[in-house]
Amino acid sequence: MDAIVLQVLNGLDKGSAYALIALGLTLIFGTLGVVNFAHGALFMLGAFCAVTLNTVLNISFSTIDPVKKDFLGNPLKVETPYIESWFGPELGAAIIDWSVPISILFAIPVMILIGLCMERGLIKHFYKRPHADQILVTFGLAIVLQEIVKYFYGANPIPTPAPAALSSSVDMGVFLGFDAGSIIYPYWRLIYFCFAAVIVGGVFAFLRYTTFGMVVRAGMADRETVGLLGIHIDRRFTIVFAIAACVAGLAGVMYTPINSPNYHMGMDFLVLSFVVVVVGGMGSLPGAVAAGFLLGVLESFASMGQVVDLLPGINQIIIYLVAIVILLTRPRGLMGRKGVMEE
C-alpha cells in the first residue's frame, strides 16, 4: 500500500512538470492557434535562468594559495565569490545556497521578455500560416536556442542543487497513517508539486476572474466575433504568449534541483508535453492539466516491478499506449472541444 502511495506521489511530481508545460502549450494552441515546437526550449531556458543566476552569484576573484597545488603542480588559485566578500562569508554562502528560489524572481521578467520578443518578432507573422510552417519555424527556433545554450554552457548537465535546508527528505509515514519510515519523500519534490498547483491555480483564476481573462477565453472560443466587437485581441494574445512562456520557464527553474539541467532537456519534454496536450483535448486547459497528472501517475505505476514482470517493456511505452487508448475511445481527448485542430 505504501508503495502505491509513493508511486502516486512520484506520479504527481512528474505530472506537475508535464502539466505546467502542457498548460502553456495549450494556451498558445487555444488562443493563438499556433503549434509551438519551441515550448520545450522555453522550459529549458527557464532552467538555464537558474543556472545563469547561480553562475553570476558564483563570480569569484582568485587568490593564490601557495601551499596547495593544482593538477599541473602550480600554486592553486583559490576562488572566492564576490558575494561572499561583500556580504560576509555566511550571508554570501546562504545567498548562493538559495540561488534556485531566488532565480524565480529573476526568471519571471526574463521569461516574459523572451515570450514578448518571440511573439512580436516571429510567431505573430505565422498566425495565418499553415501549421506545417509553424512547426518548421518553431522547431528551427528551438534548435537555435538550444545551440546557443550549448555554446555557452556545454552539453553536460550542470548541477544546481536545492538549498541545503530543503535538499533532504521528510518522513511522512506517520502523518499519512503508515509506519514511520515507510514513506520518505524529498522536500523539494513536494515543493515542486505545491508550486505547480499554485501556478495552475493562478493561471485558472486569472482567466476566470479577470476581465482580461474573460476576453482571452472569449477569444479562444471565437476569435472573429471578439475582434468584431472592437476588442484589440492581438495585444491580449501577446500577453497570453508571454504568460505561457513564463509558466514554462518557471517550471524549468524549479525543476533544476530535481534533475541537473542540460541543453537538450527541452526536447526530452517536448514530445511528451504534446502527447499530454492532445490527450487532454485540444483547446482545454483543465484537460491538459488533468492529462499531465494522469500520465505522470500512470507512468509511475507502470515502472513498478510487479507490473513490469507481468508486461515486460510496459514502462517504456505506457504513455503512448494510454494516449492511443484514450484517443480511440474519446475522439477529442479527455476534454477537447470540437473543431480545434481537427483538419
Binding site: 501549421h131 510552417d133 527556433l141 502527447v275
Partner: protein, 403 residues
C-alpha cells in the same frame, strides 16, 4: 512522354538528368582545392540523398496530398530496415529479396497503424502515429533486443545461416550485391584535377528513386490523387456527398508507408545495419522537416528538402577549425583568428545551429519552401524573356503549402 503531361514530363527528364549526372554535379570543386570540402559526390552521401528522397516522396504522398501529418513515418523505415537485414542474414546477399520484403513488411505495418490512426484526423492523428512510432522505437531499443539487437543495431555476422549463399568468404562477410554487381563497386573518372566516382549502389538507388518518383507523379495526377486532394481541401463536403474517404486515405497511408519501407530496404542494401534510432521521433520529424522545407505538396520539393538536410548533416559537421584556418591562411594571423572565431559557432559541432537558422530563414522568406525559391528565380528569368509562363515549375496547380 511516359504518359505524363508536357510539364511533368519535362520535370521528370530534369530529375533523370540530375540523378544520372549527380556524381559530376555534386563534385563541382577540384580535388585538393579548399572548396573540395563542399563536394558531396561520394557514394555514401549520394546514396543517402536518393534514399531519403524516396522516403520524403512517399511521405509527401500522404502529407502533401491528403494533409494528414504523420509524425511516425520513421517507424516504417525502421521496420523495413530490420526486415531487410534479416533477409540478408537468412536468405541471400542479393539485395532484391531484402528490398522486396522491406516494402511488404512496412506495408503491412503501415496498414495496421494506418487503420487505427486514421480513425482520427488533424493533430489527433499526428499524435496517434507518433505514439506508434515511439512505442516501436522504445521496444526495439530494449525488450525486442533478440530481434533487433537493441542499442547496437541489427547487423550481419560471420555465422549467419544464409540459405541461398555463403556465410563468409575468407573470414569476411560477403558484400551485398545485385545479381553479382557488388553495391560498393564502381569506377572513378579523373578529368584534370576533378575526380568523379560512379558507384553501383548509387545507381541502383537512383534507378529505384526514378521509378518511385515517376509513380508519385502518376499518383498525383490520377483520379485517386485528385480524390486525396479533395480530402485535404474539404473532407466534410466529400462525406456529405456520400464518399467514404477512409479507403482513400488508408491507401495513401499504406503507399507512403511502403515508400518508407523501400527507403529502409535500400539503406540496409547499401549498408547492412539497422539501428533502433532510425525509428525515433526525431527521425520522423526529420522527414516532416524535409518535406516542408522543400515544399509540401510539390513533386520535387521533398527530394530537395531531403538533399538540403542531409547535405548539412554530412558536410557542415565535418568542417573543423583546422579547415577554417586553411581557408583563411592567406590572411594575416589576427584577421585569420577573427574570421575563424566568427565562423566557428556555425560549423563542426555547431552544424545544428546553422540548420536551425536555415529552417527559420527558408520558412520566413519562402513560405512554399525551397521549391518556391526556385519558382521565384524562374519567374525572374521568365519576366526577362517575357516568354510563356509554363515550363519548369514543379508545383501542383493549386500549390498552397499543405497543412
Amino acid at each position: 512522354m511516359f504518359g505524363l503531361s508536357k510539364k511533368d514530363g519535362t520535370l521528370f527528364l530534369v530529375v533523370i538528368g540530375m540523378t544520372l549526372f549527380a556524381p559530376i554535379l555534386l563534385n563541382p570543386f577540384p580535388e585538393g582545392s579548399e572548396l573540395a570540402q563542399f563536394n558531396a559526390g561520394y557514394p555514401d552521401l549520394m546514396q543517402r540523398f536518393v534514399i531519403f528522397g524516396i522516403f520524403a516522396i512517399g511521405f509527401n504522398i500522404l502529407f502533401g496530398l491528403t494533409g494528414y501529418l504523420s509524425f511516425g513515418h520513421a517507424a516504417f523505415l525502421g521496420v523495413g530496415s530490420y526486415a531487410g537485414v534479416w533477409m540478408l542474414k537468412l536468405l541471400t546477399m542479393n539485395v532484391v529479396p531484402a528490398i522486396m520484403v522491406s516494402v511488404v513488411v512496412a506495408g503491412l505495418f503501415s496498414a495496421l497503424v494506418g487503420y487505427i490512426s486514421l480513425r482520427r484526423s488533424g493533430i489527433y492523428f499526428s499524435i496517434l502515429t507518433l505514439a506508434f512510432a515511439q512505442m516501436s522505437f522504445a521496444l526495439a531499443y530494449s525488450v525486442l533486443t533478440p530481434i533487433t539487437n537493441g542499442e547496437t543495431g541489427l547487423q550481419l555476422a560471420l555465422d549467419d545461416p544464409r540459405i541461398l549463399g555463403v556465410s563468409q568468404v575468407n573470414g569476411s562477410i560477403p558484400p551485398t550485391n545485385f545479381f553479382g554487381f557488388e553495391m560498393r563497386d564502381g569506377f572513378t573518372l579523373d578529368i584534370a584535377s576533378w575526380s568523379f566516382t560512379f558507384n553501383v549502389g548509387y545507381y541502383l538507388c537512383a534507378a529505384i528513386m526514378l521509378i518511385a518518383f515517376y509513380l508519385s507523379i502518376r499518383i498525383f495526377r490520377s483520379p485517386f490523387g485528385i480524390m486525396l486532394q479533395a480530402v485535404k481541401t474539404n473532407q466534410q463536403r466529400l462525406r456529405f456527398t456520400g464518399v467514404n474517404t477512409r479507403p482513400y486515405t488508408l491507401a495513401a497511408f499504406i503507399i507512403s508507408g511502403m515508400y518508407a519501407g523501400l527507403a529502409g530496404g535500400l539503406m540496409v542494401a547499401m549498408d547492412p545495419l539497422a539501428g533502433a534510432e532510425r525509428m525515433q521521433w526525431t527521425a520522423s520529424g526529420e522527414v516532416v522537416l524535409m518535406t516542408i522545407l522543400g515544399g509540401a505538396g510539390t513533386l520535387i520539393g521533398p527530394v530537395l528538402g531531403a538533399g538540403v538536410i542531409k547535405y548539412f548533416e554530412n558536410i557542415f559537421s565535418k568542417i573543423n577549425d583546422n579547415v577554417l584556418y586553411n581557408w583563411f591562411s592567406f590572411m594575416p594571423d589576427a584577421l585569420q583568428d577573427a574570421f575563424v572565431f566568427m565562423i566557428h559557432p556555425f560549423i563542426g559541432k555547431g552544424w545544428h545551429l546553422t540548420l536551425g537558422i536555415m529552417f527559420m530563414l527558408v520558412i520566413i522568406c519562402l513560405p512554399g519552401g525551397v521549391v518556391e525559391g526556385g519558382q521565384r528565380i524562374a519567374k525572374l528569368f521568365r519576366r526577362k524573356k517575357s516568354g510563356p509562363a509554363d515550363s519548369g515549375a514543379a508545383s501542383l496547380p493549386n500549390s498552397t503549402p499543405a497543412e
